[in-house]
Amino acid sequence: MRRNANWIELTAAAFCMIGAVGCVIGATSDSTAFLRAWLCSYLFWLGLPLAGVTLVLVHDLSGGDWMATARPVLDAATATMPLASLAGIPAFVGLNSLYAWTHPPPDLGNAFYLNPSDFFLRYGTYVALWNLLAAFVLWGPRRGNSPIRSGLSWISGVGLIALGFSASFAAIDWIMSLEPTFWSSAFTYAQGASWFNTGMAAVLLTIALFEWPSGERRQHMSDLSKILLATTIFWAYVEFIQFLIIWEENLRLEIPWYLKRLHPVWRPAIYVSAGLGFIIPFCVLLWAPSKRNRAVVGTVCAGVLVSRLANTWLQVKPEFTEPPPFWLDVATVLALGGAMVLLFASFLRWAHRLAPAEAPIWTADHG
């Protein structure tokens, strides 16, 4: 990691610059298209810190030796929370261009919830809460693979509940409300799982690329891969259940949401989202030896990341009669992603400096 850190940071900075140039061009030529593309990028990258915080809090309550391998990368993922959470601002300054409920019809029944002032109040609450939890994850008294002191584990429990509810309401605010008359309770489960899978895949990909553990610690990768397998199955389960019920009922208020997404234009996104986000991880990771194979885990996780990006586009873009051009989508993903990876890699390098000389980063104490 130490050898690779510089070129990763340089590459990330380069991508960030290229993406930023694209964003400037996009924003000046069509600001609405830029806002929509930026929203997708924001929703995609937010999964990284959300998963980092979630997994550390879960570990505080459940324990597990796998944390010895995952801790530094999870900490680095968590450290991106300030940037990731505040990255919504560029999108939300143009709220009118994104959400139909900003100029609602008189009969919109949920205007008590969907209005700009309450929206921004909730956004501020999410940012504050998530950053507080990230601080607790980074600076709480934890060592190696040990969970937090049992006297403080209640904070992790309460934090996890608060995180679950706030992320669910954020999913309603930022994605579901793009169609203000649509409601599906399973949507909150699916988006939560999708965010977690994004971050989990990024964490495992980082370990697979740079510091694959050896000896007994290879079991940790098996355990972490099992967690990813379980959550990809859960995501597919709730997505399918939601589709099945809405398709079966075929109601006026619900079925348009799927009809838009089943349009041939969006079929590739469906195939990538389901194929790389569930079918391939399921078929590959179910086989025990594959969970210990560096190349296999790395490839599957890269696929999951691509699938989550496709899924984000599938959730957001069909709601717009004029979706942003593909190059602008890529530019916003590179701009924010480059900055996120730069921060992520810098934190990992900083954590290296804390490690005793010659000791691998995985044995360093954090917290």
Binding site: G109, P147, S150, S184, Y237
Partner: protein, 454 residues
């Protein structure tokens, strides 16, 4: 994944240090082989069997007079029987979750409690299965649900979740029986080897299917058991999801909710674990298994129940928020009727019993107290019954047209059905308790060896 479920209970071992392989076999087998059952067993069995006879009488009355003896009447065509079907299948599913799901996660606390969970599952599943058959109106024709070739040309509607449910339930019960039998096989051989009377040697010898404990037999048994666990764990989720689809697939306000499949599964986790905790407390006390069923197990199960309660609370939030946020007036009206109308006392007390009170389980002292655990678990089971009752009947009471609204009042025979199935459940469980090892001797031997090697 090593679990640190008892990091706050360092003095609570998975099994007491003085339990040996021989003492475990004698302790557990001895309960099966004793000549006369203890008085408490007879008292419990007698009470249960009395309730069971009430079920038989109720069924006879029902089959002679039709389902009009229950309180069901249009618009409320689904009453207590369907609500209790969901309730019982949730309890049964909890047994599979503890037994199969936690086998896959290699949780050490599961070894001493899985047999209790499986016995509970096999006792609860028939109670669930009976409900829809009784509710058919013409129960003698229930076999029409099978997709068999007939000259009548009548086939089940394969697009209906109700039919999926029938198929799922059949497979679930059959798989559960095989799963239980695969796990208990080595223990039946242990009982056979320790039996002194010729009758018991033959009886358990036949059941043990010639098990001799060779390495090949063990290898095969463990492989089959692991494969069955891997099948049972997703199966129980799918079974309960299909039960959720029975409701979510209907257009009735209050039932149409896309979260119902996972929501029903959360209910299964919490209610099933609550029953297992109550039964484990009784078994531990009755059979003196304090060395095998330790504070470790109760702590672990209490945490599972707490997680189930939190997940259920998550689902309850969307149950309330959805109708308020959504645009469907009928959904909104039905929810307000449910929460503030005729069913309000049951609605709110159910939330208190299943979500508010279980939050006490955050406190280690509560998880250590078996009395409190017993009371909280009992409250959860009652609360889950109320939940099933409220959403089944309230939705039908408040359908789309107010002119079509009606009220459901259970009759004596509805309550007799509930009491009778509780009797059937307990009767079966007491029989398992008397004639089969209620703790997995084979798996506990592994736990003892592991504890010694630490």
């Amino acid at each position: 994944m090593a679990m640190t479920l008892t990091s706050e209970l360092p003095a609570a071992p998975v099994v007491a240090p003085d339990v040996t392989l021989a003492s475990l076999s004698e302790q557990v087998s001895g309960r099966v082989l004793m000549d006369r059952a203890p008085l408490w067993w007879w008292a419990g069995f007698g009470f249960s069997f009395t309730l069971f006879t009430l079920l038989v009488i109720q069924m006879a009355w029902l089959f002679v007079n039709g389902i009009g003896v229950w309180g069901v009447e249009i618009p409320v065509a689904w009453g207590l029987a369907i609500a209790e079907y969901v309730w019982w299948i949730a309890l049964a599913s909890g047994g599979t979750i503890v037994s199969a799901l936690f086998f896959l996660t290699r949780s050490p606390w599961r070894s001493a409690t899985n047999r209790i969970a499986e016995s509970m599952l096999l006792s609860a599943a028939p109670c669930a299965g009976l409900m829809p058959i009784m509710h058919l109106g013409r129960p003698g024709l229930f076999y029409w649900l099978f997709p068999y070739s007939t000259v009548m040309g009548v086939w089940p509607q394969a697009r209906s979740p109700l039919w999926w449910d029938f198929i799922c339930l059949i497979y679930y019960i059959l798989m559960s029986i095989m799963y239980y039998y695969t796990g208990i096989l080595p223990d039946l051989a242990t009982v056979r080897d320790l039996a002194r009377s010729r009758f018991k040697q033959i009886f358990y010898g036949v059941l043990a299917l010639g098990w001799r404990g060779s390495s090949e037999q063990w290898r095969n048994q463990r492989t089959v058991y692991a494969i069955m666990s891997a099948i049972m764990a997703p199966m129980v989720i799918s079974v309960h999801s299909v039960v959720g689809l029975d409701f979510a697939g209907g257009l009735t306000p209050g039932w149409h909710d896309t979260q119902f499949p996972p929501y029903f599964f959360f209910g299964a986790v919490i209610s099933g674990t609550a029953v297992i905790i109550m039964l484990t407390i009784v078994v531990r006390w009755g059979y003196g298994l304090q060395d095998v069923l330790t504070a470790y197990h109760f702590n672990a199960m209490a945490k599972i129940m707490l997680v189930g309660s939190v997940m259920l609370a998550y689902a309850y939030v969307w149950e309330a928020f959805g109708p308020i946020y959504g645009s469907d007036v009928a959904q909104k009206t039905e929810f307000f009727q449910r929460a503030f109308g005729f069913t309000a006392p049951a609605f709110w007390s159910e939330k208190i019993l299943t979500v508010v009170i279980p939050q006490l389980l955050w406190l280690p002292a509560v998880r250590r107290s078996r009395t409190l655990l017993f009371l909280i678990s009992g409250g959860i089971i009652v609360g889950m019954w109320q939940e099933r009752f409220v959403f089944t009947t309230s939705s039908l009471e408040h359908n789309y047209m107010p002119s079509y609204w009606g009220r459901y009042y259970p009759t004596f025979w509805d309550w007799a059905c509930l009491a009778g199935t509780i009797g059937l459940f307990l009767t079966l469980f007491f029989l398992f308790l008397r004639f089969a090892p209620i703790v997995s001797i084979a798996e506990m031997r592994e736990v003892i060896e592991e504890e010694r090697s630490k």
